[in-house]
Subunit: 356 residues, 3 copies
């Protein structure tokens, strides 16, 4: 589904500089793109790669136009978003199979399905589950008792949604993810960990996408929440009763304990962990591998283990690298002071004592 | 299934202070509870929340009774366990479907099932597997060849139990967990990683609960063991040949390498890692995100990466925060010493030399 | 399938010292082995365990022969590989069921299967998928549209391979792993995270083994690659567009972000993380829990968070442990310098000023 650069430019709202008649077949990164592909630069760090790219055309901001003259350019205010639009225009999204309710799916008579759904074979839909319109459920997924699923959801293979959980509209769950299992709730008494019934659920709001093999605990009572527009990568766990705000971006292998609240537009980088009962403010940013053990104010960047404001964590880190040298220098200084002390002591013995 | 506070109090073994006639509908946290719900305080840290809670009644220890007069109280020696009892009384545990062997389950003719099991559709039970009484196996789970499963086990959807593994009684495996896959065992020779057959198994003792999407390696030879009463959260991996003791509590995303042994009542917090071949003593506590690289004695708390006794790790951490300032102060002190040296040198030139 | 030590020795290419007529039933670790089992020592650290082992015979290198006289020895140049050979000889690998295409598998009419495959019930093979000869696919696994799978692959239960992904020959995927889900690709614009179509795939080369519950992102465009002979343990995630080189060894819970490249024979220990767009050189070694944020040259060992050359990371770590003491000593030194200063100041008042 190629097209001329001209036509692509118009469709993504960019301004064209150079030959618009060339044919563009697809999109690619700067290092991989060939002469019939369009690429992009959004991060100034990669401007230098413009020298060597073989891309037929490049999307960038007006600011960097003069740094390259070799090829047609597409100038956009937000080059990364323009590239995304080009991806949608030239490649499009995954096509799911046509609507069809497989007779090899196991759908309980009390479950309800909206119109134009595609329910694959070996999907299990339990009693009283409600699936709205145009949903796609891939093979071997499990939709528990009394689960509610909105319109246009996509559930990839081998997903399990436990009883009573709620998915909004346009929610995507990738393969192997689990929503609504019991969290780690026990009261230890008389040497035994007694299980506390986990009678809450998980509510996932509209436009959430969850990667592969995640695990979202149901609340003990009430709901664990994933706010609208939030995106999770793979192998993430969210503890019971935690409320993730809207439009968060959570990278792979992050672990968030129970009863945490995050604000809007929070970003949490890979392998970070957040301890229970904390509040993470709007637009806060948690660096990769951080161990967060106290509340994070709005817009603050934190990092380290345990985490600190990022500037402070970096300062500590730089200082730490100087410690081996400091230890040596400190010993030298101790010697010099001892030497001074002996010299001063010696001097005192020959100087008249003014106190007397 | 509400009841009077009086009746609830009796059923959980608490002493009532105030009006026992009020009707209680359910349980909730202090912040979420409404006037017909019972809440609790177990951690002194949350006593201050008693001011603002809207809970109809609160379970707490005798020690904190006088801090609140607003509402009926249930006094218990172990308030968290009493709250757990209230959860069981008022909400109860998940009800599984009635016993039934689905004709859409695939059960090998040589496999045996005890009485009153519920085997869902699309469950696969391989040759010579033995499942005892009152077990529930949810859809799309896989029970391998020669697996043995005790009484009253619950296996949620999409679980895989590899060949030859053994589950005790009352074992719960949450969705997506895998028991008995081959561990990372290779002998590198001539530039190739040669796979070592993994011919051991996994033995899970009574009353173990394992969260979602965990992965428990089978032993190379012998057994990987999960001791009785131990509880695992989500996304945990246990390496081949490791022997987890009884009543351990292991939080999400913990990774334990191969050939480790843990004692009884060990607790390991989230995202911690334990290197291979270590011994972790009874009642040891491993802090979140710790990297344990040496044995941990009984009852010791460890933390940090690599981990140290927790008090020492905290002391180092506090010291580390002072390093940027120390570096500055050190430079100042160096200057002061140099200044002193030059002054003393100068003084020596005018002081009679007593050595001569 | 026991045999005499003599016969075992011949079959694994070792030299026998002692009685070759004894019967060997199997293999075991030094601590677990009984008198009819063979064990091994490869790591000098465990030589001391030879004292107490009950093993009937031990495989070791010529270098350590004289440290033990108690029992027959099998001397091998590479004792660990020799032990592996003994494991293969005495125990062998898992036997899969006989070739059979279950009539309860769902295989699209346009999919193709090679000869002698074993496709279990409840396997879903989508349109245009191609599976070559002698493959085994366990129950409840999903093979997406247009997937290509080479000869002799083993796919354990509950695996999902997304559309268009490619597996070479002799690839093993353990239960619950997901290959080819969409990576975390969004362009944030106008307050919304807009999904970028992920139109690339995953290519897994020959002789790769992947543990349980891993998640390998498909590339945005092009391919995410797992190089030939590379082995992954459990719960590992590989980001979109990353290219893992040949013969890497990647331990459990490692997370590698997108667009990373690793060389040949790289080893990455448990819970380490590698940030996006980095290059990790041939034979580089990444220590457990490292946070790698810059390129790693060939053969370099790195560790720490953020990671440094391992020797430097260790030096910093040792220095850090001395900081609490340093802070005390520093205060003492400051006092001594202040005392010197006051003494020198006092002295100056009685010494003739030579500058004048």
């Amino acid at each position: 589904m190629g097209m001329t650069l001209e036509k692509l430019s118009a469709s993504i709202g960019a301004q064209i500089l150079g030959n618009g008649k060339m044919q563009i077949a697809g999109c690619a990164g700067l290092e991989e793109a060939g002469p019939d592909e369009v690429s992009f630069v959004a991060n100034p760090k990669y401007i230098r790669k413009l020298q060597d790219t073989k891309a037929g055309a490049v999307i960038l901001s007006a600011h960097y136009v003069k740094t390259t003259q070799k090829r047609p350019l597409l100038v956009a205010d937000d080059p990364y978003f323009a590239f995304r639009q080009a991806m949608v225009t030239l490649h499009g999204f995954r096509q799911h199979p046509q609507p069809d309710i497989s007779d090899k799916a196991l759908i309980h008579p009390t479950a309800t399905l909206g119109k134009d759904c595609c329910i694959h074979p070996m999907v299990f839909v339990a009693a009283s589950a409600r699936i709205a319109d145009r949903c796609v459920v891939y093979p071997n997924s499990y939709i528990g008792t009394n689960v509610t699923i909105g319109d246009d959801c996509v559930i990839y293979p081998n997903v399990a949604v436990y009883d009573g959980c709620v998915l909004g509209n346009r929610v995507t769950l990738h393969a192997g993810s689990v929503v609504g299992q019991d969290g780690l709730g026990y009261a230890t008494h008389g040497g035994v960990h007694h299980k506390i019934p986990q009678v809450g659920n998980v509510v996932i709001e509209d436009d959430v996408e969850i990667g592969a093999n995640c695990a979202i605990d149901r609340a003990t009572v009430g709901s664990t929440l994933i706010g609208k527009g939030t995106k999770l990568s793979d192998l993430i766990t969210i503890g019971h009763g935690t409320r993730i705000g809207p439009h968060n971006m959570i990278v792979a292998q992050v672990g968030i304990a129970g009863s945490v609240q995050t604000g809007a537009y929070v970003s949490i980088a890979g392998q970070a962990g957040i301890a229970g009962h904390l509040k993470i403010g709007d637009q806060a940013q948690v660096a990769a591998k951080s161990g967060v053990i106290s509340d994070v104010p709005d817009k603050m960047q934190v990092g380290g283990q345990p985490s600190l404001p990022l500037t402070q964590a970096k300062r500590n880190y730089l200082a730490q690298a100087k410690m081996p040298q400091l230890l040596q220098q400190f010993k030298q200084l101790q010697k010099r002071v001892a030497e001074l002390e002996s010299q001063v002591e010696m001097a005192k013995s020959v100087i008249p004592d003014t106190d007397q």
